[in-house]
């Protein structure tokens, strides 16, 4: 569809940075908020983060313990399936590699689970090797609840619904379990450079 078709009278607004955008995206300066339900607010004293599932020994950190883990500063472009992209966003958080250090597992997939019962699924290889973090600061400030604070997953090379807000842990599995949006019509992998927005893309 679309071969030879054009929209009568549409010129569009191109920007010089468009070369760095994945297909079908446009640039925003603000930081739009998208979530399916009310923003959960878990007090930090009740917050913990765990690694569970098919692991030899589950791991768990309190907020204070989590914040003492080695952290990294990350600057990445992000791409939301609703078409906006934002360049050069600055985060601080703990690498998923750090969280999985010493974990023995035969698992090939991971489900990020969150307050508000949100989940998203990823192949383990998409979140290891310096590709994903659990971020707790954005642009030098504690991450706001509406953007996923106290902590969210950050997987900037995939559409942003994979960067689950309000994350509380990672469940390692030997099989792939579609998460919340992945069960509701969104693509299982979500690579913005291949424009994998919806089922079958």
């Amino acid at each position: 569809m679309g071969e030879g078709f054009f929209s009568r009278g549409f010129r569009g607004r191109r920007r010089s940075q468009d070369t760095t955008l994945s297909p079908g995206q446009y640039l925003v300066d603000g930081f739009p908020v998208l979530s399916a339900g009310p923003t959960p607010r878990t007090p930090l004293e009740e917050w913990d983060f765990s690694v569970v599932g098919e692991v030899d020994e589950p791991k768990k950190w309190t907020w204070e313990e989590f914040r003492r883990l080695p952290s990294e500063e990350i600057t990445k472009d992000i791409h939301c399936v609703t078409k906006w992209s934002k360049l050069g966003t600055k985060w601080e958080g703990v690498s998923v590699d750090t969280l999985l250090e010493g974990v023995e597992t035969a698992a090939e997939y991971v489900t990020a689970f969150c307050d508000g019962d949100y989940t998203t699924n990823l192949p383990l290889e998409e979140v290891t090797g310096g590709k994903a973090w659990v971020a707790y600061a954005y642009e030098g400030e504690p991450l706001e609840p509406e953007h996923g604070g106290p902590a969210r997953l950050l997987v900037p090379h995939l559409y942003f619904w994979k960067s689950a807000k309000w994350i509380r842990g990672l469940q390692l599995t030997s099989y792939d379990i579609p998460g919340f949006w992945e069960s509701l019509g969104y693509h299982n992998s979500g690579d913005p450079w291949r424009e994998q927005r919806y089922w079958g893309d």
Partner: protein, 249 residues
């Protein structure tokens, strides 16, 4: 959950049958979409515009029509600095073609058979997917108790005002409650402030009645209404949200 067999969402070439002004900033696009599969009220579509040199822009728009309606209707709010919405409201006319795919989004959606009293809360053009629910409800003759709390800046900016009046007048189980935040006509008897906890407590069903809430509007409204409904005792899993940010659409 069971993985469903992926089915590609194809781009389709729709024909614009009519462009209907709703308010000074919003217009409804009435579309004939060959091969369109029935949507659920609350879902949206992706539109794709293509310039003569091949440049493309995509945006998402909520569906305003009921699944039962003969034609697909999108209502578009014109954003002055937008790239796509001014084209849709100012340039597009009957007879033009428009590329779209959908329906998209299975969570912010309602079918009459879902049950539960409905609490619909809208800010501005956030009323569009909620209107699809109200039209669906009317089309199937549902008497599911439904309240729409709808915040607009002014009387003139209320989208679908007359249709809402007509529907509520002939259906005792539908109530429409307006609040006007910026200006009000003389003798206005409705609310005159932003939606707050007191207003939600007056308007919403008691949490004991397990209402299903759909909240759609700009982010500050959605954040505040969502948080307030939870603090009033509503089950967070029964509060579904969708946002209409002015993000360049």
């Amino acid at each position: 959950m069971v993985a469903v067999q992926p089915r590609r969402l194809l781009w389709r070439l729709a024909e614009v049958v009519d462009v209907v002004p709703e308010t000074s900033r919003t217009k409804s696009l009435v579309l004939e979409v060959p091969g369109w599969e029935r949507h659920k009220a609350g879902q949206h579509v992706d539109l794709r515009l293509t310039a003569e040199d091949g440049y493309q822009a995509q945006r998402s728009y909520s569906i305003a029509s009921a699944p039962e309606d003969e034609r697909l209707v999108l209502t578009v709010d014109r954003l002055d600095d937008g790239e796509v919405s001014p084209y849709l409201t100012d340039v597009l006319m009957a007879g033009d073609k428009l590329e779209l795919r959908g329906p998209i989004g299975g969570y912010f959606a309602w079918e009459a058979k879902d049950g539960c009293p409905l609490l619909l809360v809208a800010g501005g053009s956030g009323v569009v997917p909620l209107m699809a629910m109200i039209r669906h409800r009317a089309a199937v003759g549902s008497d599911m108790p439904t309240r729409l709390l709808y915040s607009s800046r002014s009387f003139e900016e209320i989208i679908y005002r007359e249709e809402l009046e007509t529907l509520a007048a002939r259906d005792g189980s539908l109530e429409v409650i307006h609040t006007l935040t910026r200006s009000r006509p003389k003798g206005w008897g409705g609310y005159d402030r932003r939606i707050d906890a007191g207003m939600l407590e007056e308007v919403s069903w008691s949490p004991d009645e397990s209402p299903l809430a759909f909240v759609c509007g700009p982010t500050p409204l959605v954040e505040s209404v969502g948080t307030t409904l939870v603090s009033l005792g509503h089950d967070p899993a029964h509060v579904k949200t969708e946002r209409f940010g002015a993000t360049g659409g």
